[in-house]
């Protein structure tokens, strides 16, 4: 097996440079590559274009990179939880491209499947369609949307082996598998790094061929954005 292991986040992101385009897995704060985000903040690379469903919150996730003004452009579907994001957007420091969530995921998928573009009905008749090619199939209009082109994809998985095979846990899977497939170079940080043979081949979500670098992550905070619970006496929450 080809060994994809690197020592830590710093080594994994060593050649990420100013002006690059990065995909970052996660939905909200769930399943985000915490170690690599911290390393990118420490490294201080700037003028980045980030493709991620959300932009974190002020003091966690991509929000940490925003505080250091490391982003030039954010491509996301929903960015409503971040005051610093709003400030930079309104002041013109940050460019934002809002993409329907399914389109965002499928543009990642297309890149990983080696397809240059997709057709989707999402956004037909709205400002999302402006300037885009429209094709009619079987009486319904579809927008042509291009596959993303990212220098690096950075994902977080639950388990991974040194050959780069990945297994995600619960809804922390979200965008991670499609982004893992889409990077020119894909970095995976995992909660549990194991030897080849320890993971069941039938249960692999991302085959190692898509992953170039993998490392054992540390000190995961796994912050919860909306903690909602019920008490034992409640039937419904």
């Amino acid at each position: 097996m080809i060994n994809k292991t690197v020592k830590n986040a710093e080594e994994a992101i060593r050649d990420i440079e100013n002006g690059m385009t990065l995909m970052l897995g996660g939905f909200g704060l769930c399943g985000i590559p915490e170690n690599c985000i911290n390393a990118l903040v420490k490294k201080g690379v700037k003028e980045l274009t980030c493709i991620s469903n959300n932009a974190g919150v002020d003091d966690f996730g991509i929000g940490l990179m925003l505080q250091k003004r490391q982003l030039k452009k954010m491509i996301a579907s929903y960015v409503g939880e971040n005051a610093e994001f709003e400030r930079q957007l309104l002041s013109g420091e940050l460019e934002v491209e809002l993409v329907p969530q399914g389109t965002l995921a499928t543009r990642c998928m297309a890149a990983g499947y080696g397809m240059p573009a997709i057709f989707t009905p999402a956004g037909v008749g709205t400002e999302v369609a402006e300037g885009k090619e429209i094709r009619n199939f079987n009486g319904k209009d579809y927008l042509l949307e291009h596959a993303f082109d990212a220098d690096f994809a950075i994902v977080k998985a639950w388990q991974g082996d040194t050959a780069g095979n990945l297994i995600y846990r619960s809804t922390a899977r979200n965008f991670n598998p499609v982004m893992a497939m889409a990077g020119k170079i894909t970095i995976a940080e995992v909660e549990h790094l194991v030897e080849p043979g320890e993971l069941d081949p039938d249960q692999i979500h991302t085959p190692g061929i898509y992953v170039h670098r993998i490392f054992q992550g540390e000190n995961y905070e796994k912050r919860i954005e909306q903690r909602t619970t019920r008490t034992k006496s409640e039937q419904h929450a």
Binding site: Y78, T103, V124, V128, A172, T231
Partner: protein, 219 residues
């Protein structure tokens, strides 16, 4: 007039046994509380979960298990988890049959606006544009008028659109209406104690009233 729970209760009557349903944030989320006992309804959360269960008990929250509103949730026996592309694949291919979501405006031809107010911070459309572009049945849960007292049921939406000619039915605190294929809001039911006249006054778009309009039954 209905309160939010009343709107949710009425919408729950639209859900069929054996269906797959996506519930948006706000009033639509409350609909889950009123699905009839014994119905097998599977809730889809577009971040990648089929078979969304109730909120976890205190102390049992799992940071890795959330819904599309980023709330901690649980799974149920028979739940499935998948990636975001697959999640929208089942939406686009109409396997998810019913979408219930909120709106700022709906037009009489079924256009919906619910993601952007010019001049205000835009948070994004999330999965709403994908959902309204594909679902076979789309029900809007919203207030009949906005905070300024202006009708949200309009001849034409004034806000940027989320989707065109897609809304099938609207449930507000005053009424249940559907969208006629030729355009127009057809009044199907009145909320308890609300008159047709009051609904007319609160509806800026074309309102079609056919004969006696019954009161909602919310037992």
């Amino acid at each position: 007039m209905l309160d939010k729970n009343g709107i949710a209760k009425r919408i729950a009557q639209e859900i069929q046994d054996g269906s797959y349903v996506n519930l948006g944030i706000g009033i639509p989320t409350l609909v889950a509380n009123y699905i009839p006992e014994g119905f097998n309804v599977v809730l889809q959360s577009e971040n990648g979960l089929l078979g969304m269960g109730p909120f976890p008990f205190d102390g049992e929250e799992d940071a890795d298990l959330i819904n599309a509103g980023k709330q901690t949730v649980t799974t149920l026996p028979g739940s499935a988890i998948f990636d975001s592309a697959l999640s929208f694949g089942m939406i686009r291919s109409q396997k998810v049959g019913l979408t219930i979501l909120g709106a700022m405006e709906v037009s009489e031809n079924g256009d919906i606006a619910n993601w952007k107010i010019p001049g205000k911070m835009v948070k994004g459309m999330g999965g709403a544009m994908d959902l309204v572009a594909s679902a076979k049945n789309i029900i809007v849960a919203m207030q009949h008028v906005n905070k300024a007292g202006e009708s949200k049921l309009l001849p034409k939406c004034s806000l940027p659109l989320t989707g065109v000619k897609c809304v099938k039915k609207i449930v507000t605190e005053m009424a249940v209406l559907d969208i006629l294929p030729e355009g127009g809001f057809r009044l199907l039911e009145r909320a308890p104690g609300v008159s047709v006249e009051e609904i007319k006054n609160a509806t800026a778009g074309k309102l079609v009233v056919e004969g006696e309009v019954p009161e909602m039954k919310l037992s």
